[in-house]
């Protein structure tokens, strides 16, 4: 799996490309741990180019989400292909993750709201 990281002002965007399985899930967790070491806990995964995901890949995403929650951060996902979305629905993880249609929508949701 290829992971391309873009560091926006208040959120790190990870574009994932390829297969998300047991081996690449471990690699993804290692990459995210490097972000945690820099105190980056607002993270977005763009899954547009994920061509395959299995339960081990889902497990890696759940593990990352739990770690982010512990650190009081936030994880969003976007651009799920229809077959990836279906797997999230079958496993009911679509209720657990914050999933957006587009990256822009997800990033907007990360913007801090101004107190009136």
């Amino acid at each position: 799996m290829d992971i391309i990281i873009k560091d926006e002002s208040n959120v790190c965007i990870l574009n994932l490309r390829g297969r998300l399985d047991l081996a690449s899930g471990t690699a993804l967790k290692e990459e995210v741990n490097k972000l945690f070491a820099q105190d980056k806990v607002s993270i977005h995964f763009n899954l547009m180019e994920v061509e395959f995901i299995n339960s081990s890949g889902l497990g890696a995403l759940v593990s990352i989400m739990k770690e982010i929650r512990l650190r009081k951060g936030r994880l969003t996902l976007s651009n799920l292909a229809s077959y990836v979305k279906e797997i999230f629905e079958i496993t009911q993880l679509s209720h657990i993750f914050e999933i957006f249609e587009t990256e822009t929508e997800a990033l907007n949701s990360h913007q801090p709201t101004l107190a009136g």
């Binding site: 399985d21 047991l22 081996a23 339960s55 081990s56 759940v62 593990s63």
Partner: protein
Amino acid sequence: MKKRCFTYQSDPNLEERFMDDIVGLLDEHDVEESLKRRVCLTVSEAFTNALRHGNNSDPTRKITICLSINRNQISADITDQGTNGLRSIMKKSAPGPLSESGRGVDLMYHYAARTRFEETSQGGLRVILEFDRESQEVS
């Protein structure tokens, strides 16, 4: 029905190789894309279970994947060299919402037309996944 078998060590880094082997075989038989995805996903789940739970990630233990394909049906047979695999499948409970594992068997049941688990004479687990080509193509 043509049958071809592949044998791998219990190494998570071999998942990409076995997937290439399976996709190549499915392509030889012009299996349509959505069915190919189902076969690949479910075989991947069975492979991961065999590697982690059956063979305990012991690289000296092997995983054998056999695929049989004809015009009407695809059958995948995944066998490990572990012990008590069938018992652990029977004891399996539903994963919690934040569980990091335990969803693979559910995906097998969902995507394969028929899913069976058997114990080999050596105590390993054999997973049999069957797919109907015609019904998949109609749906």
